[in-house]
């Protein structure tokens, strides 16, 4: 029987959750015996299979219109969607931008930063995605498994993926449930 296919992507996150994923060290070999890793930001394939994958993993929350597209695409192409890490689960650190608004944040980054000169302005190319209120993935699409943590430990990630690989929806509790 074919191994379950797993794809991942990252949105408004710091990549720390994917680094934590890699922290499972040699267990990644064991993992690849259980699942087939398809597209991830840290491997060659970049888009989840059009035919769909079994498990989609998203790190980071929704902070712009491009994130929205990626999240919707991953939800569409995954049987089970996992929100990986605090940002994906509830918005995380990027959600603090909501206190000030996207406009103020863009101004701080592109106009008022110490490295800007007088000609600095906020980029407005129509191809660029527009910022939105930072929100958890579950505010946009249905999430099946929440794995909080900043970042969730490699043990937790391995345990969750192992369960999913064996066709079980993991129970994220006790040692696996880590809100910081």
């Amino acid at each position: 029987m074919a191994k379950p296919k797993v794809a991942s992507d990252w949105l408004a996150g710091c990549a720390g959750c994917h680094m934590s994923f890699l922290d499972m060290d040699e267990r990644i070999i064991e993992l690849t015996k259980l699942v087939e890793l398809r597209s991830t930001p840290i491997t060659d394939l970049k888009e989840p299979d059009e035919a769909g994958v079994d498990v989609g993993i998203l790190e980071g929350g929704i902070s712009n219109t491009y994130n929205e597209q990626v999240a919707i695409r991953m939800r569409k192409r995954s049987r089970i969607l996992v929100a990986l890490g605090d940002c994906a689960v509830f918005g995380g650190v990027p959600a603090m931008r909501n206190f000030y608004g996207a406009e103020a944040a863009l101004k701080r980054a592109y106009v008022e930063a110490e490295s800007n000169d007088d000609s600095a302005k906020i980029p407005s190319d129509p191809e660029l995605s527009k910022p939105v209120t930072v929100k958890p993935i579950s505010d946009l699409v249905k999430v099946d498994v929440f794995l909080p943590g900043c970042a969730p430990s490699a043990d937790a990630i391995f345990a969750v993926l192992a369960d999913l690989a064996n066709g079980k929806i993991p129970e994220v509790k006790d040692d696996l449930n880590d809100w910081h």
Binding site: V89, F99, V143, P148
Partner: protein
């Protein structure tokens, strides 16, 4: 007594106990947030709802009294759904970013409750509206984004401390914790006792100096006694890696019931004084490092050559009874030194010992102040020292306590009024402090105690600080700074040097100072012996109401510091002496104004 069925287990509890009390006894864990064992049940958070057979709605277990044969179920699906709802609502209300909060992973009761319900996400996303942060206070920060509006802080500030600084403005979802009429905490009537910070269940009140230095489980907890006044409040000393992190009040301590005042809680962590790290001997105009043997030899030589009439010996009331004991035995009993002085001007302790010789026991326990209908505070400023006694009185004011306060003892008419009206009250108390004692002679005091005896007034004498009482019982009275001698031996310990102490020392030619910290005293000394501070030196203390408490050692001492007992003992060996005085029998030798509980 009544029987209550908790999840099938029958427990017996007192009539009037709440369902929560009964559940605790049965070992059933019902989560709660606004509830606290030292505060009046409030019933606001609704996290403690349980099912009671026969009741139509869920019942708040923290406030509902248990009844005989009541059947309570604490973990049904209905109960769990209600808990999850309350927690979901709380997480959706304000901004709970656990990742960088100092209370995360163990010290946050909100987070712990969410873990207990296996919550992995927030069913309702907050609006991420920012709430104000008040960082105007020197000791703590109010982070409104983390506040769950449980009002424990408001209730401590009012119900227990009696200060009523914290309150709420607006109502409903616009409710906000504020100080006074919504002014910055740092400018308010806050007395910096820090009890609100200790009682806060989340990370909303941040202790500035100890935040991020360790969770409760990372820290070592040692029970010890506060030495800043004579009440004997029990402090829990929290340390990590042999460093002082924070002080908290012990919840079940008889006197303070979990409270501390600003002095007791913060003065040790604010202490910036430099330690005396090595023995020093003066050569010329300089103090040069020496070793203990050398220094003790110099001291012994001086003590042997100068006559006992020309020697004065001083000790700080912050020293333990064991230290006082060694001091008394060596200097008075062996060396026959007559000039023994306590580094504190407060005469209340010594006067109480004098009066006890005539009257026997005439004082009441400090805790009588918690339950009185009228109180006269004469000669003591309870907003400065003995603040926890002040809390006991202040918190009864809304209940109608008649409070007469004359901190400087300059209003004799107030005493007159109190005496004239005493029959109006059922449980009057009188508190006497140093300012009254120093303005009165023994005759006035005798008269007063005679009157107290006849009236139904309970009397409390506030006897200085730390071990001033034990010192007085041992015959060590406040020092007279005008006495000049050839040699002064001053056991300073961690005492805060004041002008009188300096004046006393300056009156002597040869100065030996045994101190933990550098000060003007060590600056002018001829021999400096490094001493331990209260965190390092274990010993017993006698509180103003006669209770014997042990100050446990909380920190390993710095390398060369020696305890007072050890240094005096070693000095005594230079005289071929072994110190054998029994400090316990010395305490029981004298009549005392209050029954000692040893």
């Amino acid at each position: 007594m009544i029987n209550v069925n908790i999840n099938g287990q029958i427990v017996e509890v007192e009539n009037g106990a709440t369902i929560l009390d009964a559940a605790k006894k049965a070992g059933a864990n019902i989560p709660s947030l606004c509830h606290h064992p030292k505060l009046h049940p409030y019933g606001a958070c609704r996290l403690c709802l349980v099912e009671v057979q026969g009741a139509r709605t869920l019942v708040p277990s923290c406030t509902a009294p248990a009844s005989d044969n009541m059947v309570v179920l604490t973990d049904t699906p209905r109960v769990k759904q209600a808990r999850k709802f309350v927690l979901s609502m709380l997480f959706s209300e304000r901004n709970h970013f656990c990742m960088y909060c100092q209370a995360t992973d163990g010290d946050c009761e909100l987070q712990n409750a969410a873990y207990a319900e296996d919550m992995t996400n927030w069913p309702f996303t907050p609006l991420y509206l920012p709430f104000a942060i008040d960082a105007s206070h020197p000791d703590f920060i109010l982070e409104n984004n983390r506040c769950i509006l449980c009002r424990r802080c408001v209730r401590v500030c009012g119900e227990l401390v009696g200060n009523f600084t914290l309150g709420f403005e607006e109502r409903g979802s616009a409710s906000l914790l504020v100080a006074d009429n919504s002014i910055p905490l740092g400018e308010s009537t806050c007395i910096s006792c820090g009890n609100c910070v200790q009682f806060c269940p989340t990370g909303a009140l941040i202790d500035r100096r100890s935040a991020y230095q360790g969770r409760q489980t990372d820290l070592t907890h040692t029970e010890s006694i506060c030495l800043d006044c004579a009440l004997g409040c029990v402090r829990v000393v929290l340390t990590r890696d042999n460093r002082l992190v924070r002080l908290e009040g012990l919840l079940d301590a008889e006197v303070n019931q979990g409270l501390l005042c600003g002095l007791g809680r913060y003065s040790p962590v604010k202490d910036q004084r430099k330690r005396v790290t090595t023995t020093m001997i003066r050569r010329g105009s300089q103090l040069v490092p020496a070793n203990w043997e050398e220094a003790l030899d110099v001291v012994a030589t001086q003590l042997k050559t100068i006559g006992s009439d020309e020697i004065s010996a001083y000790i700080s009331p912050r020293q333990s009874i064991e230290a006082l004991n060694a001091f008394v035995e060596f200097f008075r009993d062996h060396l026959q030194v007559r000039q023994l002085g306590l580094l504190n001007k407060d005469e209340t302790a010594s006067v109480s010992v004098r009066l006890a010789e005539e009257f026997g026991v005439f004082e009441s326990d400090v805790t009588v102040l918690s339950d009185c209908d009228a109180a006269l505070v004469l000669g003591a400023d309870l907003t400065d020292k003995h603040q926890v006694a002040g809390f006991m009185l202040k918190r009864q004011l809304p209940g109608g306590l008649k409070l007469f306060s004359d901190p400087d003892a300059t209003k004799p008419e107030m005493l007159e009024e109190f005496k004239n009206r005493v029959n109006e009250w059922q449980t009057p108390v009188m508190v006497l402090g140093e300012n009254f004692v120093k303005r009165s002679n023994l005759a006035t005091l005798r008269e007063l105690i005679d009157w107290v005896d006849g009236a139904h007034v309970r009397l409390v004498l506030l006897k200085g600080e730390a071990n001033a009482y034990a010192a007085a019982i041992n015959g060590i009275l406040p020092s007279d700074p005008s006495i000049s001698t050839k040699l002064a031996y001053m056991v300073v310990g961690d005492h805060y040097a004041n002008s009188n102490n300096i004046a006393s020392l300056q009156q002597s030619d040869f100065k030996i100072v045994q101190a933990a910290y550098q000060s003007e005293l060590t600056d002018i000394a001829d021999v400096v012996l490094p001493a331990m501070n209260w965190l390092e030196e274990e010993g017993h203390y006698l509180s103003t109401d006669g209770k014997l408490n042990l100050n446990h050692q909380a920190l390993q001492p710095i390398e060369l510091a020696k305890s007072t007992v050890e240094s005096v003992t070693r000095l005594a060996t230079k005289f071929g002496l072994t110190l054998t005085r029994n400090w316990m029998s010395a305490l029981t030798d004298q009549p005392t104004s209050i029954t000692l509980s040893l």
